[in-house]
């Protein structure tokens, strides 16, 4: 999965924002996507990897990839 090249339809940058902003803004951004489209989320909140995973399980939007680049956490989410 991690070898796949994922291309986002929408990019959301939550750099510098703490809980609950990353999931709240992800929720808002998801409303602008069509089913099957992909959101790329960038966050620096250290709580975001478990939070985004929980958000994905609760909302049914699939977390395609969760990775770390330096101090940033990168998530790819597919709208259900």
């Amino acid at each position: 999965m991690n070898d796949l090249i994922l291309k986002e339809d929408v990019l959301l940058d939550c750099t510098g924002l703490l809980c609950p902003w990353p999931i709240a803004k992800t929720t808002q951004a998801m409303k602008t996507l069509e089913s099957g489209q992909i959101l790329k989320l960038i966050a620096t909140d250290a709580g975001s990897p478990p939070d985004i995973a929980a958000w994905s399980r609760q909302t049914g939007n699939e977390l395609l990839r969760s990775s770390e680049e330096g101090e940033k956490f990168i998530f790819f989410l597919r709208k259900a």
Partner: protein
């Protein structure tokens, strides 16, 4: 207790009973997080929590009841900012202006760290259809009128909350 409709979305029922700045955060953060996950969410504001329904949130930090409250400075070099200043209650609770000082320090620290303000969180909660319910009994006791609150606030009593909470998956008293 079984939910009356097993197919209903998850639900969070919160009681916000405290009106200080630090205690006002947990219910709003949990409510906006739950609503972001598609849960039905309601907050019942009672006693000192009721003031959080006023258009302008004037919540202050109080040293009383926070015996281990450390304080961090929102300015200066990082090493200085990382020092936890212990606030002895005997001094702080008697010092004039301490609450305003502690409040402005905490607000600035929150802002620097990227934490939402209470007003932002409440706006977000409303945008996400979180129900904000003011306690009628407390309003009568403390002399609040419905038109002193934001127009989205509903009014209800203990039965209103309990009926809502009976169908909730998570209930918390803050």
């Amino acid at each position: 207790m079984a939910k009356s409709n097993p197919n209903a979305p998850k639900r969070l029922a919160l009681i916000a009973s405290k009106g200080t700045l630090d205690w006002a955060y947990p219910p709003f953060i949990l409510a906006t997080a739950a609503a972001s996950m598609g849960w039905e969410t309601g907050i019942f504001f009672t006693f000192y929590g009721l003031t959080l329904l006023k258009p302008e949130v004037t919540a202050l930090v109080s040293p009383l009841g926070n015996p281990a409250m450390p304080m961090k400075m929102p300015f200066g070099p990082e090493a200085f900012q990382n020092i936890s200043w212990n606030m002895p209650n005997l001094l702080t609770s008697n010092a004039p202006g301490f609450e305003n000082l502690a409040t402005s320090l905490m607000k600035q620290t929150f802002k620097n760290k990227g934490v939402a303000s209470l007003e932002e969180l409440r706006d977000l909660a409303l945008e996400l259809n979180v129900r904000l319910i003011g306690c009628q009994m407390t309003m009568d006791v403390f002399g609040f009128k419905k038109d002193e609150f934001i127009p989205q606030a509903e009014i209800g009593g203990a039965a209103t909350f309990l009926e809502y909470a009976a169908d909730a998956d998570v209930q918390l008293f803050v």
